[in-house]
Symmetry: C2
């Protein structure tokens, strides 16, 4: 079994996609994350859902849990509106930052072991599969576990 046998089509976004659209994609299709592609259509980043949420949360709430509590309920409900006008670019890790982590991207010949090691190492439940400068789709942790446990 190789990555090509576990592939599924996977929606992509770009750095210019509005965050609200990215959030709808995540929620509507129950995706474990999003593949952000560059102008060539190749994965520039893999964005976990929690990273998209981060854009909607004011910094003072991220830093101090107690401050999130004192914001009244009605205001808290409206936090989705704070996403308006933001794009995926703002959720991306800074380019060429020294601590920039390995991307969960591999090729269709990757074995199950390679896929599992990549997911474990990058903490990503989603691996993008690329062949000859073309994004073929993704392997999810879910698909990997189902097939490995059935074997």
């Amino acid at each position: 079994m190789r990555a090509r046998d576990l592939l599924t089509a996977f929606p992509t976004v770009t750095a210019d996609t509005p965050v609200i659209e990215a959030a709808r994609l995540l929620a509507g299709q129950d995706l474990p994350g999003l593949i952000v592609v560059d102008e060539r259509g190749l994965p520039a980043s893999i964005l976990p859902g929690t990273q998209v949420l981060r854009l909607a949360v004011p910094g003072y709430c991220l830093d101090d849990p107690a401050l999130a509590r004192v914001v009244d309920e009605a205001h808290a409900d409206a936090f989705a509106s704070s996403l308006a006008g933001r794009t995926v670019r703002q959720a991306l890790p800074p380019e060429r930052s020294p601590g920039r982590r390995e991307l969960p991207v591999t090729d269709p010949d990757a074995t199950v072991l390679e896929l599992a090691a990549l997911m474990a190492r990058t903490h990503s439940p989603l691996v993008a599969v690329v062949e000859q400068e073309r994004l073929l789709g993704a392997v999810t942790l879910q698909a990997l576990l189902v097939r490995v446990l059935a074997a």
Copy 2:
């Protein structure tokens, strides 16, 4: 809208649950993670799926992607069998380690903003909800996004 309005029942495991059973639970129900409870039934840890995978991957593959590739395909397919005899305990972060991170656990009165901040801060797509020493269930990133985007 509060955590109590977004709650779903969520399966739990203990530190003594076999890893293979935990993996079947993750895969079979397409869960974003697992709640590990202590002897009182309270959350001791929230385990993302990628952390469960980590147990199945030999250390040399985690450290060096190239080594995972040289393991032949048949052997790689059989890696699930390496889970045999392991328990969830081995996937848990060490107790009282100085860098131990905040647990994504809250109470039923938490606002949407608090839930979002907690998920973003702990990088967890899953928050356990506890009231009076009792685990009520969990709020998932998926449930939070669906409700917030519909509002």
